[in-house]
Amino acid sequence: MTLPLAVRDLRVASAGGRALLDVPALDLPAGALVGVRGPSGAGKTTLLHALAGLLEADGTVRWGETELLALGAEGRAAFRARSLGLVFQDFLLFEELGALENASVAAMFAAPVARQAIRDRAADGLRGLGIDPDDARPVSSHSGGERQRIAVARALAGGAGLLLADEPTASLHRDAADRLVDDLIRLVRETGATLIAVSHDETLIARMDRVLTIADGRIEGGATHEAAA
């Protein structure tokens, strides 16, 4: 289930008190594809982490009816497990596990009744991304492109309607990156999920509904442009 986002007065400070992120207001409709770009250290990843409830911040981050920052660590984790998938620049898979085990890792801590659904969705997702779910090889033997596709399958296996991606193509060579962008956009469109992707990759940014530019912890403008596709 996808959710609209409403951010108000979001402020993240460093341990030293320096402002890392300052977002007075940000509203995104459910199912939006949003690119986030900006120079290194501008606060892109911090924004993503704040939206995922991974760090302490002031203000409100509201996903649908859920006020994320008001929840404790366990509540936020439960929200992520239910509604939010993450994709990282360097994949962050469990190297010793196979593709399906990685994609369905959430089944390990899901309620027993929900486990099979997660595994099925993970297997379907892997197949849809061109990866054989029955291949038991540890993912360390897969190529970078394959690994990132496994990570995408993992992010969607929980049935999450929100996908946050942090430089998903930055560790891939051009061909693999292009393929991943195609797959990612297609899957998100198919499922109607919201995608917020931090990226330097213009190929990815160009496919988004809306692009935010961050500089010095602030969102500049807020230009909306039609998807290139």
């Binding site: 982490h49 995922a52 991974l54 760090l55 660590a73 366990e74 984790a77 439960a78 929200f79 992520r80 497990a81 239910r82 939010l84 993450l86 990282f88 962050l92 469990f94 190297e95 010793e96 596990l97 085990e101 890792v105 959430a106 089944a107 390990m108 801590f109 309620a111 027993p112 486990r115 993992r154 929980g158």
Partner: protein, 435 residues
């Protein structure tokens, strides 16, 4: 409740303690793992740092094993020495040190002691409640084997009548202990004295081995038993008689009896031992004592040492547990990132705890179980060394105390493991993701 506990047989108490100690980790496992299926992930973590984990398990195994081996060995030694004294109900000797006398007669440790004269011996031997009164004559040897003069009756008593061949029937026949490198039919010439002080060529009389005792688990297994008359004759002590006595064994003529350092007494009845002890405890004449009681006294003195050892073993196990936990804290830093990832993917804290705890508990349990094996091997090796050095058969088996020690270690370590597991869980997710 206490009454009920005391009414239980020892094995039931031991079993109950063991169950109590093992049920705690089991309950912990149940509490952290309930409702989750982290098996694949735990196996992945164990495999990921395979060598580090293996080294860690080996370290735990060795430290647990040494503690186990030591306490098993200590008990084995205590049982072995008690066993060795088993055949020596009551010893009557000239007044002196009971300890010296016990070491000389039971453990064949040579020492200079005063003698009991013929009339006194006759009095003991003819006492109505005395079944066996064996004089002992020490001082000679053949190679490393002490040659001990005594009676045929005592040889049979010592070996429970398990003698291959027969006991002596002539004054120059002998019965070998189980491990003496002489066969039935071999002849040997005793040297005067023992060990480095032995002088060859002093004695001229050879004796023939006619029998061999089954192993007794005592230093007597390395001794050669001869008729006491043989020792007297070779030393020219059996005065006024033909050089080759035709009749051997008791009764001995009190007038010609040259004296004996000790008489091993076996009474008809168990209770009679006490009566005999008080009867032959005479100031300036004889002393009578139970070697078992002397050993018990020794254990009492050593009991404090044992207590200290037990405490040391416990403290050591505690330190091992502490270092294991510290090691795990360091080891767990290796997968800070995986932990952060699990949190980012929405895993509940208890699931992360379950993975970390199970990982650590697997290492500790593997180390503890292997530690039992290491302890068994260590106890076995130590027993062999002690047995070879002392000729006291020491059999160190793993028993309840060892199982309790290992289970206690497992229990304490797995419970305390929750602390490092929590510290890993509490680390900020974002930092972990960037680690």
């Amino acid at each position: 409740m206490i009454d009920l506990w005391l009414a239980l047989p020892a094995w039931a108490q031991d079993l109950a303690i063991l169950l109590a100690l093992t049920i705690v980790p089991a309950i912990m496992a149940l509490l952290v793992l309930r409702g989750y299926a982290p098996g694949a992930l735990i196996r992945a973590v164990l495999r990921r740092f395979g060598w580090t984990n293996a080294a860690f398990v080996a370290l735990i195994a060795v430290s647990v094993g040494l503690g186990v081996g030591l306490i098993a060995q200590e008990r084995g030694l205590r049982q072995g020495t008690a066993q060795a004294a088993d055949k020596f109900d009551l010893i009557v000797a000239a007044p002196g040190s009971e300890m010296t006398m016990m070491l000389a007669s039971v453990f064949l440790q040579p020492s200079n002691v005063a003698l009991i004269d013929g009339p006194t011996y006759a009095e003991i031997a003819t006492h109505p409640q005395v079944r066996i009164a064996a004089p002992l004559a020490f001082g000679d040897s053949w190679e490393d084997a002490p040659v001990v003069g005594t009676t045929g009756e005592f040889a049979r008593h010592l070996s429970d009548d398990r003698i291959e061949g027969r006991t002596w029937q002539a004054w120059d026949e002998a019965v070998a202990g189980a491990f003496v490198p002489l066969a039935v039919g071999d002849r040997f010439l005793p040297a005067h004295g023992l060990g480095d002080a032995a002088e060859e060529g002093v004695h001229a009389d050879e004796a023939t081995i006619v029998g061999r005792m089954a192993p007794t688990g005592t230093p007597w297994d390395r001794a050669i038993l001869v008729p006491v008359e043989f020792v007297w004759v070779t030393h020219g002590l059996y005065g006024g008689m033909p050089p080759e006595p035709s009749e051997i064994g008791p009764p001995f003529d009190p007038e010609r009896f040259p004296g004996t350092p000790a008489v091993i007494v076996r009474a008809d009845e168990l209770w009679a031992n006490y009566a005999l002890r008080s009867e032959f405890t005479r100031e300036a004449e004889t002393m009578a004592f139970f070697p078992g009681a002397v050993l018990a006294g020794l254990y009492r003195v050593m009991g404090d040492v044992r207590q200290a050892m037990s405490i040391m073993a416990l403290v050591t196990q505690g330190l091992v547990a502490a270092s294991v936990l510290l090691g795990l804290v360091i080891l767990m830093r290796l997968f800070r990132r995986q932990v952060a990832l699990l949190r980012a993917l929405g895993a509940p804290g208890r699931f992360v705890l379950a993975v970390i705890w199970s990982y650590g508990a697997a290492l500790i349990a593997a180390g503890a179980v292997m530690g039992l094996g290491v302890g068994w091997v260590a106890a076995e090796l130590l027993s062999r060394i002690v047995t070879a050095r002392t000729d006291i058969l020491v059999v160190a088996r793993l028993g309840w105390p060892e199982l309790h020690l290992v289970a206690g270690f497992l229990c304490a370590a797995t419970v305390l493991l929750i602390v490092p597991a929590f510290t890993v869980l509490r680390q900020p997710v974002v930092k972990g993701l960037r680690a």
